[in-house]
Symmetry: C2
Subunit: 150 residues, 2 copies
């Protein structure tokens, strides 16, 4: 039969974080306070595991625990609207980021190509061209006045 209660260690290992981290999340209210055994051991439901995994995922994409916190509502209509707005913002943000990522990827790929051409051409005498990174980007306009415009 399916297990429905988990002690902190199980939650931790089955979602790939430390028990300390789980307690930490609880302190920050990213997890609802777990109920306890008579001996004061935490008992989590399976949704806790899922939530920890959600947290990890979101984190890897650069959200802070604070932002993640915001995505995890528990309330009624008011809260729901707030979460909806946040979701919208976050999605937009993700879209921007994916675009930036594609650009950056292109840049790296270009450097990679240069790198390989250089090695091909000059072998052990090659001189890595990646140093002059960003060579072809418009930059340093409006750096004119040293006493900058307020």
């Amino acid at each position: 039969m399916e297990q429905t209660e988990f002690r902190i260690g199980e939650v931790a290992t089955s979602s790939g974080v430390s028990v300390d981290a789980v307690r930490y999340y609880e302190r920050l209210k990213l997890l609802p306070r777990a109920r306890r055994t008579s001996g004061n051991f935490r008992l989590f439901g399976p949704e806790a595991i899922e939530r920890v995994q959600f947290i990890k995922q979101a984190q890897e994409l650069g959200l802070t625990l604070d932002e993640i916190q915001g995505l995890l509502a528990t309330g009624g209509a008011e809260e729901c609207r707030r979460v909806r707005d946040l979701l919208n913002k976050k999605i937009e943000h993700l879209d921007d980021k994916m675009k930036a990522m594609r650009n950056f990827r292109r840049m790296l790929a270009r450097h990679l190509l240069e790198c390989e051409r250089e090695l091909e051409a000059h072998g052990d005498a090659a001189c890595c061209p990646v140093v002059a990174v960003g060579k072809d980007r418009r930059v340093s306009s409006q750096v004119r006045s040293k006493t900058a415009d307020e």
Copy 2:
């Protein structure tokens, strides 16, 4: 005529970081040590600005200064190969991340939809469904044995 020398403040403001950060990058060798005026003021060339911008970009995509450091070679063939390999790894990594991002985006979008449906249907009596995040993801398999397999 084009300006070709910049003091630290110009580098900082024109690439959107603090002067402290610029000095910090120099200490970490993300920037080559700048030459100095007779009065010991740093003088940077325009490539410093570009490099700082590169750093910022990379950072926003989740690279650490350490990793970025690795991408900025200065050496010969050996180094070039190292950078090439790193570039390859990073590109692969970026691809993974973009995929994860698309998934996460989909998840958020789904939550958003639920959120809106709920608000539509129940108005001010709505109860945010985002709490039960990750509901439809296969999870908590192999959480069987409490004394985990080493």
